[in-house]
């Protein structure tokens, strides 16, 4: 695989992605792409393969096949630390705050992977709560603070493609609103984002396109302008 044939505006191009945890075959040929500056969601029921898709992009599954082009570079054979260095930032579903590190150590831990990372001041401006808790151990933070921290630390690295897994899960409405504002601001800065969201009401106004996943395959793609018309269909698909 080479760079040829992929338009430069495409940040991510996934073709025929299969992924396995041990013997279990989770993804059965995922195909999708994300253009620079786009916000895209992966919608599906629990267990449909949304989280696994993000993990497979990062190499966090036991085996994967297919093709993952990140900014035109083939990443399927790369170890995960080199994938991150292609400019991929990750907010895991369980937030992944390190308990034995303080909030600020967590924030500054990740190596820079791009040149446009935010400075600490800008980050504390965006997430004022974190500044007050900078010395606290990571796990003493509330769920909302942990989620802010998980977002903030990938912003500091200068990643240009963010994989955000269920960032609103279990959080109070006011914090969900704050996160919505953050995602909008990041979008204005030109960051590319993939959201895995259970909360369709949160994701719908933020995203340019929605991919529907079922049993490890992409079954449909819904662009923004068709969204309103197809809401009932999506609700049926998600079982809400």
């Amino acid at each position: 695989m080479t760079d040829a044939g992929v338009p430069p505006a495409e940040v991510l191009h996934v073709t025929g992605l299969h992924a396995f945890y041990g013997e279990s075959h989770i993804l059965h040929g995922i195909d999708f792409h994300v253009k620079a500056g786009e916000v895209v969601t992966l919608l599906g029921r629990n267990g449909s393969g949304r989280t696994t898709t993000l993990k497979a992009i990062l190499g966090l599954v036991s085996r994967r096949t297919g093709s993952i082009l990140i900014n035109g570079r083939e990443a399927i054979g790369l170890p995960s630390h080199l994938i991150a260095r292609l400019g991929v930032g990750y907010c895991p579903e369980e937030r992944g705050i390190f308990a034995s590190l303080s909030a600020e150590e967590n924030l500054t831990l990740l190596p820079k992977v791009g040149s446009h990372g935010m400075g600490l001041e800008e980050i504390y401006g965006m997430f004022p709560g974190l500044n007050e808790r900078r010395k606290s151990p990571g796990t003493r933070l509330s769920g909302g603070e942990q989620q802010m921290l998980a977002m903030a630390r990938v912003l500091r690295t200068g990643s240009s493609l963010l994989l955000l897994d269920e960032i609103t899960e279990g959080l109070a409405p006011v914090i969900v609103q704050t996160l919505g504002r953050v995602v909008r601001r990041l979008r204005e800065r030109g960051l590319t984002m993939i959201l895995v969201e259970q909360n369709f009401r949160f994701a719908a106004p933020l995203a340019d396109r929605h991919y529907l996943i079922e049993r490890g395959r992409i079954t449909d793609m819904i662009p923004k302008d068709e969204l309103e018309r197809r809401v009932p269909e999506i609700h049926g698909f998600l079982g809400v």
Partner: protein
């Protein structure tokens, strides 16, 4: 009376220094790599032998040995990690334990074959010969040095782990290596460096032990059982815990020798059994 007590406490403190150095390395390795490094005793023995061989055949003195031996043995450890231990990653930790146990048997066998079972003595460096009379006891200078140097190396390691960037990586990696790697940190290299460091600590302890104990192929087996007890009591993977427990266990051993000598060899294992019953994660450990 007081003299005998002070004497036993000093012996306890010296043993404790070695336990602390060795259990620190074991704890760091287990914490990050999830490997129970059974070869730790053999690597300690290797340290003592490299120093002895250096002195006997190459004329390399104690102070150079103290610097060079941990480097040489540490690099051997890194090669071993890269070539062998790495292949067992992701498997049950039992496999790592079996592999390192096997390596221990091979190393001890090779050294017995080459150097025999009887001990070789290593002279105390001239700078540290003699001692000071403290009034209530005689303090040999070399033994005081062992305690001071071990405590300094342990505290230095602890500071590096708590205060530096590599230390932060190490702590984060101890919690979740795949996630840390997905954030862009080269975790496989960290594994190699950390294993090498743990092994270098064992070799450093071996060099320090050479002038006190006999340099024999089985010297590691004698101490490693005790060190595993220390790690269990302190808590697997806890850095400060293993240092404090190492010194504490040495002292308990010394005290028992004074009050009821026949129990000295078992007291640590009784403590270990009690800890396992009452606080299975160890005094300083977090259950995972």
């Amino acid at each position: 009376m007081l003299q005998a007590l002070a004497g036993q406490l000093l012996v306890g403190l010296i043993n404790g220094s070695f336990y602390a150095l060795l259990s620190l390395g074991l704890a760091v390795i287990f914490g990050l790599l999830n490997v129970v490094n059974f070869a730790h005793g053999a690597q300690y023995m290797l340290g003592a032998f490299v120093a002895w061989i250096g002195l006997t055949y190459l004329g390399i003195g104690y102070w150079w040995a103290l610097v060079l031996t941990p480097l040489v043995v540490g690099v051997l450890g890194m090669v071993f990690e890269r070539l062998c231990l790495r292949r067992l990653q992701g498997l049950d930790p039992l496999y790592g334990l079996l592999l390192t146990f096997g390596v221990t048997l091979v190393l001890e066998g090779l050294f017995q074959n080459a150097f025999g079972i009887s001990g070789n003595s290593y002279p105390v460096p001239s700078l540290l010969q003699g001692g000071t009379n403290l009034g209530f006891m005689f303090l040999p200078r070399y033994r005081a040095w062992v305690v001071v140097a071990s405590v300094a190396v342990c505290l230095g390691s602890w500071l590096v782990i708590e205060k530096t960037r590599f230390g932060a990586y190490l702590r984060a990696g101890t919690e979740n290596p795949p996630l840390l790697q997905a954030f862009g940190v080269n975790v496989p290299v960290m594994f190699t460096v950390t294993y090498g460091y743990g092994v270098a600590l064992a070799a450093f302890a071996g060099v320090m032990a050479a002038p006190i104990y006999q340099v024999t192929p089985l010297m590691g087996s004698n101490v490693i059982m005790m060190v595993f007890a220390v790690v269990v009591i302190g808590g697997m993977g806890s850095i400060l815990g293993s240092i404090v427990t190492g010194l504490g266990v040495g002292l308990i051993e010394g005290l028992t020798k004074f009050f009821y000598a026949p129990a000295a060899d078992v007291v640590v294992f009784v403590v270990m059994a009690l800890v396992l019953l009452l606080r299975p994660a160890g005094f300083f450990g977090r259950s995972r």
